[in-house]
């Protein structure tokens, strides 16, 4: 719980187009942190944008540790969001050892988590959204960047329906998508029937005639201002996720289609143009420099939480974190068809401080009730901090890899570099819900097959290039594939084919041999017809066998040249 030190006192965000001021509240010691202070914001202008993204179906409060490593390459090297930990705190002038460090870094995470408690919860988000709407009833637009319908036990059991109900109840004004598509063409179409607001995906076309599948744009009027919101779905959905689930939908960045939509919106009188994007931060930073006329890009996909807007020319980029941990508020002064000023605040949703909204709390209770016994079923306990976020193996990934090696009797394990998944503190029970929070996908089969050393190298090189290609348009998002039983050295700044070296078979300490076959267990294959038990059963088996799990930090992956 909260101690006396390091509480939040809000110093108001003072942003201007000149980029002055750090827009994050300062947390002065000795002041009691309250909901009012979390929300405090001196309103500006005529439009308020509220943004959440990548909540990954997390309805209830959780722990979420930010990454300790997020390597930037090419033009993004050393720029936010490719700064972590102490350097991040220093860059934004944030206090170490307090609420700011807890919310935005990995520094002292386990200790601070006990002090400040859980984050997120849609009932808490609802309270904050309603408070802003009450203050700015005619000015507020609430936008969801997608990755909303997937990532939990209940979203899997209801095939996304629980989230549609909740997002409808929150009064969402528009959304875009990525993981939503992994429910497949038919289910997405069904859910859209239930959705009470626009589902925007300007960059999705049918594979026959390249015709739009979804609405690309929605227009709103707030505070007397005409606002155009263009939705940009994750461009590489059919590459990063199974194509067979959505065989007739084609994606891509489609820069020219974004420009065409912006130009059309302006011609039809839009005074404020917003791109609600699931491109990922670096892709959006590049796009902002190439597409003219976007005022605001609400970024998503890469789960970055930045306490200040990033500007590219006249375009503001906002990064609102993930898992319901933050609510972004951006006030804009729009006059004569241009943004004259802005004020921004990334508001952390500290679950112990924000009062749950009773209406949404009741709805969450209702959707979880049929699954309560399974959600709460305890499988074991962890002695270690379990987390995933970061470019390379996290401790939760190491646990999954260990489960694959042992339960599937394999020599090497591969686990996908997803960026979603809640953290668990040392000493916490591990429940079925916790396992699903890091594994819940619609293609969960844990395969077991043989791969040559040469093929394993190809896999590592291919994934590394999807993460570290110096041109963001060739990046696919996600992090490096996680490995068990295998060590390697990576130089992210190298070219494809030259990043990976020193591949080692950890069981013997011998180098991986190109021609030799290894037994590999993995999950989340994008290939149709993959066979094996669901990954959550594999992980459950491992945890129940061991009762208490402990994960030592993985030192088999060495990063050089950064």
């Amino acid at each position: 719980m909260l101690s006396r030190r390091d509480f939040l006192q809000v110093a108001l965000a003072t942003g201007a187009l000149s980029g002055a001021g750090n827009a994050w509240p300062s947390f002065a010691a000795g002041t009691m942190l309250t909901e009012a202070e979390l929300l405090a914001f001196e309103p500006l202008g005529n439009v308020t944008l509220l943004h959440i993204t990548d909540i990954h179906a997390q309805l209830v409060p959780l722990y979420f540790r930010e990454p300790s490593i997020n390597v930037g390459v090419g033009e993004s090297k050393g720029l936010p969001p490719h700064i972590t930990g102490k350097a991040f705190l220093a860059k934004y002038g944030l206090e170490a050892g307090g609420a700011q460090a807890y919310a935005l870094s990995d520094q002292g995470f386990s200790t601070l988590a006990r002090e400040y408690g859980r984050v997120g919860g849609v009932d808490r988000l609802a309270t904050m959204i309603k408070a802003v709407r009450a203050e700015r009833p005619d000015n507020t637009l609430f936008l969801d960047g997608g990755d909303t319908w997937q990532g939990s036990y209940t979203s899997y059991q209801t095939q996304g329906e629980d989230m549609v109900r909740v997002m409808n109840a929150l009064g969402t004004d528009a959304m875009t998508a990525h993981w939503e598509f992994t429910y497949g063409t038919e289910r997405v179409t069904e859910l859209l029937e239930q959705l009470a607001f626009p589902f925007l995906a300007n960059n999705v076309r049918d594979t026959d005639w390249e015709e739009p599948v979804f609405d690309g744009i929605a227009t709103f009027e707030r505070g007397g201002t005409k606002i155009a919101v263009i939705g940009q779905a994750f461009p590489y959905t059919p590459v990063a996720n199974p194509r067979y689930k959505i065989p007739t939908w084609s994606f891509g960045i489609r820069e020219e289609a974004v420009q065409a939509q912006v130009d059309k919106a302006r011609a039809e009188g839009a005074e404020l143009v917003v791109l609600l994007s699931h491109n990922g931060f670096d892709v959006d930073r590049k796009l902002a420099g190439r597409v003219q006329g976007i005022d605001v890009i609400l970024t998503g996909h890469t789960h970055d939480a930045l306490p200040d807007a990033v500007t590219v020319g006249k375009t503001l980029l906002i990064a609102s974190g993930s898992h319901g941990k933050f609510l972004s508020r951006l006030d804009l002064d729009v006059r004569d068809g241009a943004v004259k000023g802005y004020r921004y605040k990334l508001m952390p949703v500290f679950s112990d401080i924000v009062t749950p909204d009773p209406e949404i709390a009741a709805l969450v209770e209702e959707v979880r009730a049929p699954h309560k016994a399974e959600l709460n079923r305890v499988l074991g306990k962890t002695e270690s901090l379990l987390y995933r976020r970061g470019n390379f193996n996290g401790t939760f990934d190491d646990l999954i890899c260990q489960a694959l090696l042992e339960e599937r009797d394999a020599e090497i394990a591969l686990s996908p570099g997803f960026r979603w998944g809640a953290s668990l503190l040392p000493g916490q029970d591990i429940t079925v819900e916790d396992v699903h929070n890091v594994t819940s996908i619609t293609y969960p089969a844990a395969y077991r097959s043989e791969m040559t050393g040469a093929f394993l190298k190809t896999v590592l090189e291919d994934v590394a290039d999807n993460l570290f290609n110096p041109d963001p348009y060739y990046q696919q998002g996600g992090d490096m594939v996680r490995v068990g039983g295998l060590g390697y050295t990576i130089d992210p700044g190298e070219e494809i084919g030259k990043r990976i070296s020193n591949m080692t078979f950890l069981a013997t300490g011998a180098p991986i041999e190109a021609e030799k076959n290894y037994t590999v267990a993995g999950w989340a294959s994008v290939n149709e017809g993959t066979e094996g038990p669901p990954i959550w059963d594999v992980v459950e088996g491992y945890i129940t066998n061991h009762t208490t799990v402990s994960v030592t930090p993985n030192d088999a992956v060495k990063v050089v040249g950064v």
Binding site: G252, K457, Q476
Partner: protein, 160 residues
């Protein structure tokens, strides 16, 4: 403006990139380099044949739209557009499309006349692996213009 000489070995950046891909091939699979080299020469041969001793410039007049990363290497959409008034005096005659690392690099040749109205065409192609797609346009004044884009073919997975 970058000129692309077609007689000598002056496709500098393309050669460098392919050399790297070639090196990668050597590490992963030891038998592939020969066909890759052969394909590269054939792509240049195709272009040389098309321009017949002329020189194609990256003048910005040709726009080549391809996905940055292919969703399916077996059917990659492409659209090529050439900025031209398409009048009897000034029009686009032909556009050649080549994929520089395909076993058969020639993808298509589109023929236009002033009656085409606009010099634009779309098709789909198969790409064996990550490579450059090159469009070369021949105009009625005898000049050649080109555009190039790289399409990545990946095994996928892991995103998100």
């Amino acid at each position: 403006m970058k000129a692309l000489g077609l007689k000598g070995k002056t496709m500098e950046d393309m050669t460098r990139r392919d050399a790297l891909a070639f090196a990668a091939g050597l590490v992963a699979i030891t038998v592939l380099p020969l066909p890759v080299l052969a394909a590269e020469e054939t792509a240049m041969d195709e272009i040389n044949k098309f321009v017949g001793g002329g020189e194609a410039a990256e003048s910005g007049r040709v726009t080549l739209e391809t996905p940055e990363i292919a969703e399916n290497g077996n059917t990659v959409p492409l659209t090529v557009m050439v900025d031209s008034p398409m009048t009897a005096d000034d029009y686009v005659k032909r556009v050649l499309i080549v994929a520089d690392a395909n076993p058969r690099p020639g993808v298509a040749t589109f023929h236009f006349s002033p009656k085409s109205g606009v010099a634009e065409a779309s098709t789909r192609m198969r790409l064996a692996r990550t490579q450059n797609v090159i469009a070369v346009a021949e105009l009625s004044d005898g000049s050649f213009h080109m555009a190039k884009s790289m399409v990545k073919v990946t095994i996928g997975g892991c995103g998100g």
